[in-house]
């Protein structure tokens, strides 16, 4: 029976016998630096890693495999650190470099390459189930989720210390002054599946929280936390109550609302406030000058004075009606709209659940004006050019292409308006959700079709729309967008409807309550202050969009055990807490912020404590896993009793201590690991060791491995000479076969398009859509993104062969590969030699070249192929070679 079986049986017996002692379980013991063992063959030891490995080998009578040759080593380390093959130039340089530190300099070069972050980001994204859509019926795109992916790449390239990497993702938003990157990192909370139409919304919200808590516990602590959701853990001393105590750290997180947040770019706030002060001063001066000009006008009725159709100053109260101060066109109250002190007299306060309905007061030429105040942004997103995606202020929207109109409070404090048939759209700048009163006027002239939007007395936009009567709305809604749209939260005052489009000066008269009213319009228009005012622009706060976490506020809800994992079945109340099986201290003090309970910061700080028993072991184990193909404990997401005990527990502890000793620098750890003689071993079998230890538990050799799905695709692109190493930005859509698109419920909308250059980006930047399987990546075992994936499968199956032989991608890139060889060198033998060397990254053997030359000749002689075609087919063979797809 192989060794692994024996050790696993030993664990099983240990548990079954019921002698489990919590302090004895290997993963929960305090982390202590083990002594480096003495070994006989000290000459083999490059660094202490080797002493630990060699001590084990010597104890079992094994000798380490001979060192890999330079080509194999360069290939291994280049793929391991960057996910890419070494180039011919890199190979030549390394092979020719006789300096004793030649290898170390290669490692430094690779770690300095930005492609390092691209490779290692994928390891992390697998753990946090990174995908770019929600799954389920609509499988919506997660807006700006790619910025999270870029954040991970950048953090790894910058060698961010692990505590910062963890804390920023878990609680970047709770930092005192979070930067945009800190918020982007909290996209961590928005990566999972999300049913936007759940049958039981509360249960689904907890399913999501469960997934977040479980992903956190598995990826950072290797605790199979989710197993204790419904009942106490079957094997580990982790109670259901402790599970829910852990969940409580996350329970104040707002459920995903399918939207990104608009936030100021770093440093923009201060600049904005300076500009705003200048603007406010200039504006006050101009308004004062206008007031003086208006005051000089003799009061009287203007010749062509607009008539007031209806006015709702909000001063007289009624529980059921919104009272018209002009006539009897009262509106109906829906919900409880209350009165608060307003811009003038009383104003109406909307709480999001209420609105008022007015008759269709206007349809030809008109002006709607009011004052509005709120400290919340509206609905919609900043790129949208439809007024009706916002939160309704005064709205006559009717869905479909019809003659309607409306004014809305939009994303990021923009005030927008528009009319239908044809759709027209006007928008102010952002930032009006500042708790101040703002005057809004929307004018429409039927004869010219002109519509205009004025904010604070200044024209912000105009357009030409329909010249028909806007008769679609059966009535008008105040404080909500119809139908059933989002309700406005804020105050509205002095709502008035006039019977024609007001001129700019007339609007100014209203906005600034100028003496003389409309009669002063001419004087206003003539005043230089009016031109100055019109030229003033409220400064924009420079913003950006992030997919980030938000909480309900600083007061978290009470948390409970949920019996059998059913959210509706509350058990005892619990306080946030961490599993007691780990010993040590719990979380530190929790400090709420104005926006959040602060619990996630406390948790993140606890996870990254230097004396945490799991965090550093888990990290060290993963670093080892991705260099050696398996963790020292193979169950890298589970260090509990359902997991696998480490084959080299002392080495694991030593490495965990090194993580801390080296400032939590991942790059320093990579250096340490790949500098070891253990990493530099060859992969040849030694019969005695193979028989005694077929799973290579002892590391008597280096394990061969198949390339990952992403490495396969990226390497094919590299062979073809088209690989585009550009990093970051929205994901790309390399072409997919129509047969694959036809599996989508909306084949025409299933996928996007990309230029050939963009289609040749590295696989990390290919859009990850939950409901559509990219055939090449899927068949080579890309991670399933619905759950944390700690270890990729590495299957071999005929589908892979079909894809690599017949698929469009393989065919096209074999052709490009051949074209590259024709371009770069001449003569069949030279071309095939170079092809072989590119694919295997070692000198070509004559026999291999001979075989391909023979093939090419036969293809020409027996199969009627021309030179280019024959070479193309040889390249297809090369791309299918085992040596291309397997390392060592």
């Amino acid at each position: 029976m192989p060794h692994a079986f024996r050790s696993a049986f030993a664990v099983s017996a240990f548990v079954v016998a019921g002698v489990a002692q919590e302090d004895a379980w290997w993963a929960y013991r305090p982390l202590q630096r083990p002594p480096v063992p003495a070994v006989q063959n000290a000459a083999w030891v490059q660094n202490p890693i080797d002493a630990f490995v060699l001590a084990g080998l010597e104890a079992r009578g094994f000798t380490p495999a001979a060192a890999a040759d330079r080509h194999a080593l360069l290939r291994r380390v280049t793929y391991g650190l960057t996910g890419l093959p070494p180039t011919p130039e890199e190979i030549a340089a390394f092979v020719a470099d006789d300096a004793p530190d030649a290898y170390e300099r290669v490692v430094d070069r690779l770690l300095a390459s930005p492609q390092y972050g691209v490779k290692w980001a994928q390891h992390w994204l697998d753990l946090v189930r990174y995908a770019e859509t929600d799954g389920y019926e609509r499988d919506r795109k997660k807006p700006f989720v790619w910025r999270y992916r870029d954040w991970v790449v950048d953090a790894l390239n910058a060698d961010m210390p692990w505590h910062e990497f963890v804390q920023t993702q878990l609680a970047g938003d709770e930092k005192p002054e979070p930067r945009v990157a800190d918020l982007v990192a909290t996209g961590f909370y928005r990566l999972g599946i999300w049913d936007d139409e759940p049958t039981d919304p509360e249960q689904h919200r907890y399913d999501d929280l469960d997934s977040i808590a479980d992903t956190t516990a598995r990826s950072l602590l290797a605790i199979s936390m989710g197993c204790a959701r419904c009942h106490d853990h079957k094997k580990d001393p982790l109670s259901q109550k402790e599970y829910h105590a852990f969940l409580a750290f996350f329970e104040n997180v707002r459920p995903y609302d399918l939207a990104a947040r608009t936030v100021p770019v770093d440093g923009a706030r201060a600049q904005f406030e300076r500009s705003l002060a200048d603007y406010t001063t200039a504006r006050s001066d101009a308004v004062a000058a206008l007031r003086m000009a208006a005051a000089a006008v003799v009061p009287g009725e203007a010749a062509n004075a607009p008539k007031l159709v209806a006015a709702y100053p909000g001063d007289r109260g009624s529980a059921t009606e919104l009272l018209d101060a002009v006539g009897e066109r009262h509106g109906a109250m829906r919900g409880q709209i209350v009165q608060v002190p307003g811009h003038r007299g009383q104003a109406l306060r909307f709480d999001g659940d209420d609105h008022a309905e007015l008759p269709r007061l206007v349809e030809d030429s008109f002006t709607v004006s009011f004052f509005v105040r709120s400290d919340r942004p509206g609905a919609g997103n900043g790129n949208d050019t439809r007024w009706f995606t916002g939160t309704g202020l005064v709205d006559g929207e009717v869905s479909g292409i019809v003659r309607d109109w409306g004014i809305a409070w939009h994303s990021d404090g923009r005030i927008v308006a528009g009319s239908g048939d044809p759709e027209t759209f006007l928008a102010s700048g952002p930032g009006h959700h500042d708790g101040q009163w703002h005057h809004v006027a929307f004018t429409r002239d039927r004869d010219s079709g002109r519509i205009a939007l004025y904010v604070d007395g200044v024209l912000v936009g105009e357009a030409t729309g329909s010249k028909a009567a806007l008769t679609a709305p059966p009535h008008l809604v105040v404080g909500r967008m119809r139908p059933g749209g989002r309700g406005f939260r804020g105050d509205l005052d002095e709502l008035a409807f006039h019977d024609r489009a007001l001129s700019g000066p007339e609007v100014a008269a209203l906005a600034f309550d100028l003496p003389g009213g409309f009669a002063a319009a001419e004087a206003i228009a003539a005043s230089p202050a009016f031109a100055r005012l019109a030229a003033l622009r409220r400064p924009d706060l420079e913003t950006t969009e992030v997919l980030a976490v938000t909480e309900f506020g600083s007061e978290p809800p009470a948390a409970f055990v949920r019996l059998r994992g059913n959210v509706h079945s509350k058990g005892p109340q619990v306080e946030p807490g961490v599993p007691s099986m780990l010993g040590g201290e719990g979380v530190g003090p929790v400090r709420a912020t104005p926006q959040s309970a602060g619990r996630r910061t406390a948790l993140a700080q606890w996870i990254t404590r230097p004396d945490h028993v799991l965090t550093w072991r888990v990290l060290a184990n993963r670093l080892w896993q991705h260099h050696f193909g398996r963790g020292l404990s193979r169950s890298t997401n589970d260090f509990g009793r359902l997991g696998d005990v480490p084959t080299h527990p002392e080495l694991l502890d030593w490495l965990a201590c090194e993580v801390l000793a080296r400032g939590q620098s991942l790059k320093a750890m990579h250096r340490l690991i790949v500098h070891s003689a253990a990493f530099r071993m060859g992969s040849d079998a030694e019969p005695k060791a193979l028989a005694a230890d077929p799973l290579n538990d002892a590391f008597w050799r280096f394990d061969r491995r198949r390339l990952t799905a992403e490495e396969v695709r990226d390497s094919v692109l590299a062979m073809a000479g088209v690989l585009n190493l550009e990093r970051g930005g929205p994901s790309v859509y390399p072409p997919l076969p129509p047969e694959v698109l036809a599996t989508s419920s909306r084949p025409d909308e299933a996928w996007g398009e990309a230029t050939p250059e963009q289609a040749a980006r590295r696989s990390l930047f290919v859009h990850v859509k939950r409901s559509l399987a990219e055939p090449l990546l899927a068949s080579f075992d890309r991670a399933d993104t619905d759950a944390s994936c700690p270890v990729r499968f590495a299957t071999v199956q005929p589908t892979q062969a079909l894809t690599m032989l017949n698929g469009d991608f393989a065919q096209a890139h074999a052709a490009a590969f051949a074209a590259r060889l024709l371009r770069e060198t001449s003569g069949l033998r030279a071309q095939l030699t170079r092809g072989l060397e590119l694919v295997t990254q070692r000198p070509a053997r004559a026999a291999d070249v001979d075989r391909l030359v023979l093939l090419a000749r036969e293809l020409r002689a027996d199969h009627g192929r021309d030179e280019a075609q024959a070479l193309q087919r040889c390249c297809l063979v090369l791309l299918n070679a085992n040596e291309f797809v397997f390392l060592d």
Binding site: P2, V15, Y136, E137, I193, T199, D207, D214, R218, G226, C227, K234, K235, G629, R634, S635, T636, G640, L642, P694, R704, P737, E739, A742, T743, S745, R746, P747, R770, S771, L772, A773, P775, A778, D784, D786, A787, V791, F793, T795, V796, P798, T799, A801, L805, N806, G807, A847, D848, R851, L859, D862, H863, R865, R873, L876, V877, A881, N882, F886
Partner: protein, 481 residues
């Protein structure tokens, strides 16, 4: 952990090895496992899809799942509710939950088709399915199905993978994982989609979730190139490809020589031979040239309405003959009236979809039976849920979704014919007698195929995951002959 045999640490040994980072490879560790008696005596086609011994003697070798995507209305098809007809147009008190949320009242839409009794057993079938009606003596109706969600997204996942949360393997994946495939030249789990597109959530409906991708369903197209990348590229001949593969084999053999211990490399060499054979055999499986005119007519290939679904049903029979374990055919795709989701005009919608499937389904049952295949092939009919007896909107005949009670039927594969199990209330909304969860349907299918639903497990995320969930589910004994 309920499986005392073959287990340690709650895992089967094989699962342990996958988890153990040894990877999941075609031939990896086959020898060691074979010595342990893991793969039985079969060493010819070892690998993840190698035939594996069942838990018990199977009644069914194959399963054909006719998926009526969108949700057919039970009271208009197989669940006869005479009291519903006179209530047409009346608003009654009835608590329902569907896409439109929870309601306490609804306007009854009387069934739009008449029902007749068929067969020896006298089961009632509506005029939508006159051909299927003639097969009732082979059918076992379950009138009391219920599911956990009345919304397509989660309900589709439930019917296919047993859970409303995305990420679990589908029924066909479990069957292939449990039994392997008999014919290495064809995929073991085949899905045929509607010409209008896949069902919502696309590939999630035949995905292998946390299992290796080798167990996912393969989309098979009834025309042209049946499987993605199966066809040799234009301009290349078979002989030429063979020559390329020979060169590849020599190259790979040379590479393997100093690495002969590595079964993964050998497996990959083998996989190209398998792929080459698939290229020859899979097109033969979809080639109907040898099917008689009578057979083609039987399946409705002579009628544009039934041609597409009929061809797929005929292909299903051919695939069963060739050892494919699990075949799923979708009636309907895309959204709205492209499938059975009759929110608008019930009559137009159901006439269209029943009209496209009635004759082919009956033909499939009849053809399987006359060839002696029905007794070893379990055929399942149903959608992700049914439809409510009341209208969804103020006007029209459209019905909202109903997951509280709906009808499915099974046939063949050791299922008792001519019976009905369970019942909905007298209006047909809710299962009231012998309510059966989707997992009971899954358990019954696995049971008939030789797998113990409560034993078939895959170790993932610290749990012995099962299709029927942690609490398990018993097969429905009454259905089993």
């Amino acid at each position: 952990m309920n499986d005392p045999t073959n287990t340690f640490c709650g895992r089967t040994r094989r699962e342990f090895l996958w988890q153990a980072g040894a990877g999941f490879t075609a031939l990896g560790l086959t020898d060691a496992l074979s010595r342990d008696g893991f793969f039985g005596d079969d060493r010819k086609a070892a690998g993840p899809l190698a035939p594996k011994p069942p838990h018990h003697a199977p009644k069914a070798r194959a399963c054909i799942f006719l998926f009526m995507y969108g949700g057919p209305s039970q009271v208009d098809t197989f669940d006869y509710k005479p009291k519903l007809y006179p209530l047409d147009g009346k608003t009654i008190d009835i608590k329902t939950k569907g896409r439109g949320g929870s309601k306490n009242q609804g306007r009854v839409v009387g069934p739009k088709w008449n029902f007749k009794q068929y067969g020896q057993c006298g089961r009632w079938v509506s005029d939508l399915f006159p051909h299927v009606g003639r097969c009732v003596d082979d059918l076992a109706f379950v009138h009391s199905m219920y599911a956990e969600s009345p919304l397509h997204g989660s309900a589709m996942l439930m019917m296919n993978s047993g859970r409303i949360l995305s990420g679990a393997p589908c029924l066909g994946s479990w069957v292939n994982y449990g039994l392997g495939t008999e014919n290495q030249d064809l995929p073991g789990f085949v899905v045929m989609l509607d010409p209008s597109g896949g069902p919502i959530s696309g590939a999630k409906n035949w995905n292998s979730g946390f299992m290796p991708a080798v167990y996912q369903g393969t989309v098979l197209r009834p025309h042209g190139e049946p499987i993605l990348d199966l066809a040799i590229p234009a301009g290349m001949t078979v002989r030429e490809q063979r020559r390329l593969l020979d060169a590849l084999r020599e190259q790979n053999d040379a590479h393997l020589a100093p690495r002969s211990d590595d079964s993964n490399l050998a497996a990959r060499i083998q996989s190209y031979e398998l792929a080459f054979r698939m290229q020859a055999h899979a097109p033969e499986a979809i080639d109907l040239a040898n099917e008689s005119a009578a057979t083609r007519t039987l399946y409705g290939l002579d009628d544009p309405r039934t041609e597409d679904f009929g061809r797929k049903c005929l292909l299903a029979r051919r695939l069963v003959e060739r050892g494919v374990r699990f075949i799923q055919i979708y009636s309907g795709g895309n959204h709205n009236d492209y499938n059975w989701d009759a929110h608008g005009d019930l009559v137009i919608n159901h006439e269209k979809h029943a009209g496209a499937t009635d004759r082919p389904i009956a033909a499939l049952l009849q053809d399987l039976k006359q060839r002696g295949l029905l007794e070893s092939t379990i055929v399942v009919w149903g959608g992700e849920f049914g439809r409510q007896p009341t209208a969804e909107y103020a006007e029209g005949t459209g019905r909202d979704h109903d997951s509280a009670g709906f009808t499915m039927w099974l046939a063949g594969g050791g299922i008792r014919g001519g019976m009905a199990l369970g019942a909905t209330d007298e209006l047909g909304y809710q299962a009231v007698e012998r309510p059966l969860h989707v997992k009971h349907l899954h358990a019954t299918i696995l049971q008939q195929m030789g797998l113990d639903p409560n034993r078939l497990s895959f170790f993932h995320a610290g749990l012995a995951q099962r299709l029927v969930g942690t609490e398990g589910a018993q097969p429905v004994r009454e259905l089993i002959a």
